[in-house]
């Protein structure tokens, strides 16, 4: 049971970013490897508000959402839109480069020293033999609300329907008079806010430093691929699967193999079910 609690807590951290990643893929059909850098940026934004400005962590979280949304929307305008029409591989490489740029910008302004939120460290709540930390409870709750809200936005609102229409067939959406560019920007803002949220959640567990972007990149992408690229709910389930796989690896195998879990998941999914858990198979002509 403890494994379930731990896996949930680990999954909750990367799940919002995995949903953001899949949303980007849905709209533009490329893998944005700068996802880890956006998450790291969110962590630094939350830290700045929480520690430098001395405001509560929830205020830091809101700042992280805003900074994440702004940075992703800006990077879309300045970096990816001018390259629209290029292959997915080109955009993937550009996103890796962007990741290094963002990491070094943060290093320039904040230095390389690690940082932590102003959050007292406390012991767990005990329910029988089960240990649950207050932080894990908060992280799982916030992450769950964010994912459900995103799902509701995509399925129940006009902007959600527009986003899905643009993702499904950009040309058709354009012909039908939808403002494709603006809708894509809204999509990027939502994805950016989700990256910012993951940044705040990851900062609760990890030391915040510019290097953390690469620590989260592979698990986030593996979760999105497992769930099926283009499926936000799948990405959340993928995060859960990665969380479980990592917990079980540490408990029953050597912890040093934990880093390989994300890669293994990607390989197995691509071999056995390339469309992922909830993705839809696409015939390419």
């Amino acid at each position: 049971m403890q494994v379930v609690v731990n896996a949930l807590a680990s999954a909750a951290i990367i799940a919002p970013a995995a949903v953001g990643f899949t949303l980007t893929f849905m709209l533009f059909r490329y893998a944005n490897f700068a996802v880890g850098a956006f998450v790291m940026l969110g962590a630094f934004a939350a830290w700045t508000v929480n520690v430098t400005a001395g405001l509560p962590l929830w205020a830091g979280g809101i700042a992280a959402l805003a900074i994440g949304a702004m940075t992703v929307a800006l990077s879309d305008r300045l970096v990816f839109r001018p390259l629209q029409g290029r292959t997915g591989a080109t955009l993937l490489l550009v996103s890796v480069a962007l990741s290094f740029v963002l990491e070094n910008v943060i290093r320039f302004f904040y230095g390389s020293q690690i940082k932590g939120f102003d959050l007292p460290l406390t012991g767990p709540l005990m329910i029988g033999d089960l240990r649950i930390t207050r932080e894990a409870l908060a992280v799982v709750t916030i992450s769950g609300i964010a994912i459900l809200s995103t799902a509701a936005l995509l399925t129940l609102t006009p902007i959600g329907r527009a986003l899905r229409a643009v993702a499904d067939n950009t040309s058709l959406a354009d012909v039908r008079g939808l403002p494709v560019g603006s809708i894509q920007t809204v999509g990027m803002i939502i994805a950016g806010a989700l990256f910012g949220l993951s940044g705040t959640l990851v900062g609760i567990d990890l030391a915040i430093d510019p290097g953390l972007s690469w620590a989260v990149t592979i698990p986030i992408i593996a979760a999105a691929i497992f769930g099926g690229l283009g499926s936000p709910l799948g990405a959340a389930l993928g995060a859960l699967a990665i969380g479980f796989a990592e917990e079980l690896t540490v408990m029953f195998l050597a912890p040093a193999y934990k880093g390989a879990v994300g890669f293994m998941v990607i390989v197995v999914v691509l071999l056995l079910r390339p469309q992922g858990l909830l993705g839809v198979a696409v015939d390419r002509k």
């Binding site: 807590a9 940082k115 932590g116 990890l206 934990k258």
Partner: protein
């Protein structure tokens, strides 16, 4: 009008042909001596790289002001190895191939020091560093390496002894999967047994860059050990420590001091109290250490300050003294003079200026450093250094025990 004879023609031709060689030789004799300062300005060693590079620069600046070495200026070229062997190799390639350095000073992580060693060996470049993997001496085939830090076996031995003396005879072990921690697993266990204790529970290595350390903390305390030893870097140790506290662990946590500095204390707050940590320390109160502190603008206060910068200071002083003594910048010649000046016998010197005077007078010298006495085994590994164990009390490091390691 003079007639060109065959003799004159041949002499003139020989001069013309030889002049580039002569000129190049003359230029080389007056050109600056390039020395690489390859330090971790980011990553796990990030907190220490700047102080090491600063020490290299300041010593070189002092020497340059006084006229340089062999009448040549010393040009220190600083590069960031990011505490990452891949970045380290890229930077070392640039230092060796483009900058033509004769020595690379300052590497901190064992993985970086060992990663660049094949390049340095191939190009006959000296390496002076503070790294501690037990495997370091295996990579040196030419006597070109000099370590200003004891090897892991002696860290683990010293820390195990300190733990047992502090009343903790049983401890579990978990460290990052790198050269530093992996070569500590066995020596820490052996040293605990030798000191009358034993390693308990799971001993394992974890990956230092991962999104969560919850499961690792769970596994570490599964058998409820009275103490755990986590020789991580500051980023991963802070994350593991947080999870230990959140998992309700009440035992004693032992760590390496470079992971428990101000950043760690700030990141975890009051929970840091009670953590015990140790590492090789400079000889507090010694004239050489105080001189180093003053050079970098710090006031000696009886506490450990710039624990790696003082080794950087020694690296540059010793290298430049050896060049002065060898009357050459050829690393294959300089290496023998490093050993001779570090180990003596000779008159005690603590700076380049003191040593250069005695060298000019033809007297043998023995360099005594700011980080240690700087005496090497024949394989270039340091003979001994002080180790100190601290306990964090009220957010401050309080010294508990100090021992000297003979390795």
């Amino acid at each position: 009008m003079s007639k060109t004879t065959r003799r004159k023609f041949l002499a003139g031709s020989a001069l013309v042909v030889a002049s580039p060689v002569v000129l190049r030789h003359a230029l080389a004799q007056s050109a600056p001596i390039n020395v690489g300062s390859l330090v971790p300005l980011s990553g796990g060693g990030g907190p220490y790289g700047a102080e090491i590079a600063d020490a290299h620069q300041r010593v070189a600046a002092l020497v340059n002001q006084a006229g340089g070495v062999l009448g040549r200026q010393v040009n220190v070229i600083t590069e960031n190895d990011e505490t990452n062997p891949e970045a380290g190799v890229r930077a070392a390639r640039k230092l060796i191939d483009a900058d033509r350095v004769i020595a690379i000073l300052g590497t901190w992580a064992s993985s970086v020091t060992m990663g660049i060693m094949p390049l340095a060996q191939e190009s006959n470049v000296l390496q002076l560093f503070t790294s501690s993997s037990d495997d370091i001496p295996k990579g040196d085939k030419k006597g070109l390496i000099f370590n200003f830090q004891p090897l892991n076996a002696s860290w683990a031995t010293a820390l195990a002894r300190l733990a047992v003396r502090s009343g903790y005879k049983e401890a579990a072990f978990a460290g990052p999967n790198n050269d530093f921690a992996s070569s500590m697993v066995k020596s820490f266990g052996d040293a605990l047994v030798e000191a009358g204790g034993k390693q308990t529970g799971d001993s394992f290595l974890y990956n230092p860059n991962q999104p969560s350390y919850r499961a690792e903390a769970e596994r570490l305390i599964r058998s409820n050990p009275p103490a755990v030893f986590v020789p991580g870097y500051v980023a991963d140790f802070t994350a593991v420590f947080r999870e230990l506290i959140r998992a309700g662990y009440k035992g004693r946590v032992f760590a390496i001091s470079f992971a428990t500095g101000p950043q760690f204390k700030k990141a975890v707050g009051d929970a840091a109290n009670g953590v015990m940590h140790g590492f090789p320390v400079p000889p507090i109160g010694k004239d050489t250490y105080d001189a180093y502190l003053k050079l970098v603008g710090l006031t000696p206060n009886g506490q450990v300050q710039n624990p790696y910068g003082c080794a950087g200071y020694d690296q540059m002083q010793l290298l430049l003294l050896a060049i002065e003594s060898a009357k050459s910048t050829d690393p294959m010649v300089v290496r023998g003079h490093i050993m001779k000046i570090a180990n003596g016998p000779g008159e005690r010197v603590t700076t380049f200026a003191e040593g250069a005077k005695l060298i000019a007078a033809g007297k043998p010298i023995n360099y005594d450093g700011a980080s240690s006495a700087v005496d090497f085994h024949p394989n270039g590994m340091l003979k001994s250094r002080d180790f100190e164990l601290y306990e964090i009390r009220d957010g401050k490091d309080v010294s508990v025990l100090r021992i000297t390691s003979e390795t």
